[in-house]
Symmetry: C2
Subunit: 79 residues, 2 copies
DNA sequence: ACATAATGTCAAACATACATAACATCATGT
DNA sequence: ACATGATGTTATGTATGTTTGACATTATGT
């Protein structure tokens, strides 16, 4: 899961991490972590960031079908 | 944050919650909670669900700019 | 009447996103 | 040389997504 946040931030008059964080309601540390891909944000945060840059979520965050962990299938209920 | 998961599930040959959960690596309980909007999923889960139905994230999950809680602005660092 | 499948719901554990606070480096300017 | 702003990073705590297991209702079929 990669993203274009850093690039979009530079394209937006070199907006700072702190400024971006302020506008979308996050801390600058969280913005930094997202830019570095240390974790993928919540869907809500993804929408807020994408909306700020006038983009769709899939234009800002790039996802690949097998790109994640090979999801350990949950058990759900055993009967 | 509303979504079309339940509708899309019916359109896909009445796929069951458990079946959908199995295919995207979630439990049926989580699918039920997402359909009812009890919480918004992670971005990763949103991508997996949207991809399964051949849709974009914003086609499956509908987000409104002010729709959320009036996010209590974080402090970040005080100097 | 009994079984089974699909769904709702709940409580407790667990995983991870996010905040807060602190300290660090690097660049720029005075 | 000193200050300031932007970013990296780490540790700790809180909020919330997710699993697991259980029990319930409703419908359908035998």
């Amino acid at each position: 899961m990669t993203n274009e946040v850093r690039l979009l931030r530079f394209l937006a008059q070199d907006m700072t991490q702190a400024e971006l964080g302020r506008r979308v309601g996050l801390t600058r540390q969280t913005i930094a972590a997202i830019e570095q891909g240390r974790y993928s944000p919540s869907l809500d945060v993804a929408f807020r960031i994408a909306h700020l840059f006038g983009k769709r979520v899939d234009e800002v965050f790039h996802w690949q079908p097998g790109g994640d962990q090979e999801t350990k299938t949950p058990n759900s209920d055993a009967s």
